[in-house]
């Protein structure tokens, strides 16, 4: 091979080598590009798996941990016994879930005359088993004090002398209402009596809710010094599908059962109710010892019939609640 041929051969080899190099670089670039995108998509996949996985875990928690039905039952039963003259339509409960939380929305009704009227709309948010947010939108015109104190309840124990109600004014307000109205009234008695006795003494009006003497109402303070609010139960038969009092042989027994259920979830029940403090163990002990007696009831009926209660010697105080146009058919 002469020099010329050698030069040609080495140039050819150089060119081939350069081609290989650029191919090699291309392959490297392509591999880096693919790996880069694979890494990006892998990260995206991981991120997008977080919400569905936590949603599944949330469902598992509400199915096998603190069940959603327990939370719903505690919420509804608490309101039945702590909010006078109210009922819920649980079939109308709106239950929805987001990761680690549950939302319960429902409406609460009040019986005024012979009809039920929307009283409040509740929006409860739970973070797993605990209440994280409570929003109540009221449709009522006469609202009970938002912050209960020992002097401002609408139902007053016979031995409670520490009061803020101007009962003379309340009777005058009632007297001034048109005869064509039906009224909800909070009646406090001079003495304790059974719910049946209370019903018998007021035949012309409907006794809808009875406040039960639990030993703390004399001062409205529990043993630990916390303010307590009245608790009681609906007196009338309640046939609505999801009511805890549906088909009950005795509402009194259902009331006692509800208190026991609430005791197991007292923190939650306190957070749901408007009461600051339920003091359930103390009150349950008292009821078991002394039985169920009432010191005040919520009645509803025509204005004239409610006004007639003034002449009865059992009524100590009256507080006028909601008033609606005539819907009484009896």
């Amino acid at each position: 091979m002469d020099d010329y041929e050698k030069l040609i051969a080495s140039s050819k080899a150089e060119i081939a080598n350069a081609n290989d190099q650029s191919n090699y670089q291309k392959v490297i670039k392509k591999t880096i590009f693919t790996s880069k995108w694979k890494l990006i998509f892998a990260t995206l996949t991981m991120i997008l798996l977080i919400v569905p996985t936590s949603f599944m875990m949330t469902f598992m928690y509400y199915a096998f941990g603190t069940s959603s039905t327990t939370l719903m039952d505690v919420a509804s039963e608490t309101l039945y016994v702590t909010e006078p003259n109210t009922s819920l339509e649980e079939i109308e409960f709106d239950m929805s879930f987001t990761p680690f939380s549950m939302k319960l929305a429902f409406e609460q009704y009040k019986r005024i005359g012979e009809e039920d009227y929307k009283a409040n709309t509740y929006d409860l948010r739970f973070f797993l088993g605990s209440l994280s947010k409570k929003e109540v939108t009221t449709s009522l015109e006469r609202i009970a004090p938002k912050k209960p104190t020992e002097t401002n309840p609408w139902l007053i124990h016979p031995e409670n002398r520490n009061l803020q109600i101007d009962t003379g004014r309340e009777w005058r307000v009632l007297d001034g209402l048109p005869d064509e109205t039906v009224v909800e009234a909070y009646i406090s008695f001079f003495d304790l009596m059974t719910v049946k006795e209370a019903e018998k003494t007021m035949p012309n009006v409907d006794v809808v809710w009875a406040a039960v003497d639990t030993g703390v109402e004399k001062t409205n303070l529990s043993k630990d010094g916390g303010v307590v609010s009245p608790i009681g139960y609906p007196v009338q038969r309640d046939n609505s599908t999801w009511s805890p009092f549906r088909d009950a042989t005795s509402n009194e027994e259902v009331f006692k059962d509800i208190l026991k259920t609430m005791e197991n979830h007292e923190e939650l029940a306190t957070a749901i109710s408007s009461a600051k403090n339920l003091a359930l163990p103390e009150r349950i002990d008292y009821i078991n010892k002394f039985g169920v007696k009432t010191y005040g009831v919520v009645v509803t009926g025509p204005k004239k019939d409610v006004l007639a209660l003034e002449k009865m010697n059992i009524v100590r105080y009256l507080k006028v609640g909601e008033v609606k146009l005539w819907n009484w058919s009896r």
């Binding site: 599944m56 469902f59 069940s67 079939i91 987001t98």
Partner: protein
């Protein structure tokens, strides 16, 4: 000649793998949106997209070069299916209303 045909096929498998995997990711994103906006997963055409994406992943599994992409896409779809079954059955326990 045969090598060229095989290479073309391989490109097709890889493309199917990418389509399947990206489709699966889009479904996962849609599932996230449905959960966060409280829309019922079973109430829309969500599963139609699952059935449309699955064949791409199955095709991708057939080639060694695109197998990882195919398995990736199929795993996402499998996760979505398991998610739906679990939520459906737990839904009966968690939501007491008809």
């Amino acid at each position: 000649m045969e090598l060229v045909t095989l290479k073309r096929f391989e490109k097709g498998f890889v493309t199917a793998g990418w389509i399947g995997m990206i489709g699966g990711l889009c479904l996962l994103l849609l599932l996230n949106i449905l959960i966060l906006t409280n829309i019922d997963v079973t109430d829309n055409n969500f599963y139609l997209f699952v059935y449309l994406t699955a064949p791409f992943n199955v095709i991708a599994i057939c080639s060694k070069k695109s197998r990882s992409l195919g398995i990736w896409g199929l795993s996402i779809l499998l996760f979505i299916m398991i998610f739906t079954v679990i939520i459906f059955f737990l839904g009966w326990m968690v939501i007491p209303f008809p």
